[in-house]
Symmetry: C2
Subunit: 109 residues, 2 copies
Amino acid sequence: MNLLGRAEELVLLAVWKLGDDAYCVPIKKHLVKTTGKDWVFGAVYAPLERLEKKGLLQSSLGDPTPERGGKRKRIYKLTKAGVKALIEVKKVEKAMWDNISEGVLEKLL
Amino acid sequence: MNLLGRAEELVLLAVWKLGDDAYCVPIKKHLVKTTGKDWVFGAVYAPLERLEKKGLLQSSLGDPTPERGGKRKRIYKLTKAGVKALIEVKKVEKAMWDNISEGVLEKLL
DNA sequence: GCAATAAAATCTATTTTGTAGAGAAAATTG
DNA sequence: CAATTTTCTCTACAAAATAGATTTTATTGC
């Protein structure tokens, strides 16, 4: 079937949203805040690595910052392939959700 | 993190859409047609089984039909838990996609 | 220069999901 | 009751997600 996995999608979106600040820690933070779910490190890191390997993300080491301590940040950026993958998953979701609003679902409860 | 997997979500949606005709074969057909992707049997069957085990779907054997041949159909139906899971995944997706239209993405290509 | 501390990345092991397609089971028809 | 058809079920495998511990690297104050 070969669509983005759930975590992959959400991680890509977080990277997009964070722009130049898209490294592991804020990505995790954004995911926790926006999804309302717990995200452990591995659940962020593994998709990031995979997505880079697949060419949907590209990373580079950030400059040392004036803040205290820490390894150099690894900053992620969407590639065109990444953007395309997001567009595709969105399209599929839209087709499958066609005519199903949350309201419709809630009536079933 | 614990959200519906992609296939799980799409299978649930197919079941909802098909109503009383929600058994493996039309579910697969609907998925192929609506997603534009290939779905082999295992990719439909495995999520169906798992979703039932988790209580998001409930199945029952259909009546023998006037059509030719075949084992009795196993008809699937969303449970309340299934509906809730769909509502939840939708909510999360919405939050994460907030302000990102396909148009915005396409400009990045 | 060096110890303490902090920020961040990376790793390992495991579980859960998804993929692929072969093959078995049950129903109908001639 | 054999042939055919429809449908389900199974097995083996690959990929993705989870969990949290550990390591690495940088800064600051001594």
